[in-house]
């Protein structure tokens, strides 16, 4: 859950209506709008919107821990895991933003 409202110093009158491919949101006078966790891209969009401010505490990023998984348990999981066939062209990002095609 993320809560947003229009900044008090944004100089905005009336309702604020936001429309984006990620979703829509309407901010009535001074009201706070809650965005569900099921719309993370809309949360990301509203978080950097110049007219809005986030009023809840955004969750802190989870720290990475090298020993988060017990070594014995990890070995047990590895032993019981099925063998996967690795494709020669696994899904991967592209820094140029080109759409992904799996030629295999």
């Amino acid at each position: 859950m993320a809560e947003f409202r229009v900044k008090s110093d944004a100089g905005v009158e009336g309702d604020v209506y936001i429309s984006a491919p990620e979703g829509t949101a309407t901010f009535k006078d001074g009201q706070t709008v809650t965005i569900d966790d099921s719309a993370p891209q809309l949360v990301a969009l509203l978080s950097q919107h110049p007219l809005l401010e986030r009023v809840d505490d955004p969750p802190a990023p989870e720290p990475e821990s090298a020993d988060a998984v017990d070594a014995d348990e990890a070995q047990k999981q590895a032993d019981s895991a099925p063998d996967f066939v690795e494709t020669s062209d696994p899904p991967q990002g592209d820094v140029s933003g080109a759409p992904w095609d799996n030629v295999d």
Binding site: V6, G14, V16, I18, S19, A20, T26, L45, P99
Partner: protein, 327 residues
């Protein structure tokens, strides 16, 4: 039958609710000042050896739709095109209304574009994404928008699309109505500008002549302007670009960034193009053997920051409750 006049033509725009759901009618239609739009039909020839010198048989590669219309930047319709290119629109106010367009985080809205030619050709170009949108002007001229879009397919109508609005006839913005701001200060020696947002859209084809999808790639915002080189404003920016500060004498080892805003006001109608963090790529100052005044043709690009890379704002009289006009 009489020939058709090329002067009778329009480009229209409307936002779709989703891919595959073409808009039934344009929200805004504008006269062309240049460019065009229409169906795509790619044809190629088979290439193989044989005993015949004639080229191989022709075949159809793919269909599609595309356009690069140019039109004047007018207050009522421009938010529809800008929103299509940037992705996000925020409308606020109770009249006049302020439409703030910012870049979307990951995707763009599917659009329908409508083209009429000679009151005879009526086509709707469906499932389109804006590949690039550019606005330019210069001293004494109106602001012109060039849109480039790519879509999946056209649909033809034998008659005018029902409920097509009339051509927008509001006055466009002119360059003399402008204010240029660099590093928070107004400068008065910029005589032309251009700002371009590229979405690098790719058309995808699979097992059909009709395309599968259009997908945006890496976004890039560039700008350019011609600045009369004077001993204050232009020379200061020149020094900051090369030497870091206005008093620097050694070449700077860091990239100079600043903010750049182009704003145009015609009564209550305002359009503004803001780049919160911009980096110059070229800031030349060249001699001229003919004695012409020195003019720097500056080029730069927006830099990623905590804010959207660019924000375009239009103030007009059009409400947009629940996205009724601009989506």
């Amino acid at each position: 039958m009489a020939g058709l006049s090329g002067k009778t033509a329009y480009i229209g725009v409307a936002k779709q609710t989703a891919k595959g759901s073409a808009a039934t009618v344009a929200k805004y239609v504008n006269p062309f000042t240049g460019g065009s739009a229409g169906p795509e039909r790619v044809v190629d020839r088979l290439q193989e050896t044989d005993s015949n010198l004639d080229p191989g048989s022709a075949y159809l590669v793919r269909g599609g739709a595309a356009g690069s219309p140019e039109f004047y930047v007018r207050p009522k319709s421009f938010p529809a095109y800008a929103r299509a290119g940037l992705g996000v629109n925020t409308t606020s106010g109770a009249g006049p209304y302020v439409h703030t367009m910012t870049t979307a985080t990951s995707s763009l809205p599917y659009m329908s574009f409508f083209r009429m030619l000679g009151a005879t050709v009526y086509e709707r170009l469906e499932d389109c994404l804006v590949n690039s949108i550019s606005v330019r002007s210069e001293a004494g001229q109106a602001l012109v928008c060039t849109l480039n879009f790519l879509g999946l397919k056209p649909t033809r109508s034998a008659t005018e699309w029902a409920s097509t609005p009339t051509l927008e006839n509001e006055a466009p913005w002119f360059y003399h109505q402008g204010t240029v701001t660099i590093a928070g200060s107004t400068v008065t020696n910029v005589r032309s500008f251009e700002i371009t947002l590229e979405n690098n859209v790719t058309q995808q084809q699979t097992d059909d002549i009709t395309l599968y999808d259009v997908v945006p790639g890496t976004r890039n915002l560039t700008f350019s302007f011609d600045m009369i080189f004077d001993s204050s404003t232009a020379f200061d920016e020149y020094k900051k670009f090369h030497y870091g500060t206005t008093s620097g004498t050694a070449q700077s080892t860091t990239l100079y960034t600043t903010d750049v805003t182009f704003s145009f006001t015609n009564g209550a109608d305002i359009v503004q193009f803001a780049i919160p963090v911009a980096a110059y790529e070229e800031f030349p100052a060249e001699p001229d053997a003919g004695g012409d005044p020195v003019v720097s043709s500056v080029r730069g690009a927006a830099i990623r920051s905590a804010s959207p890379i660019t924000t375009w704002t239009v103030t007009n009289t059009v409400a947009n409750a629940a996205g009724v006009n601009y989506g």
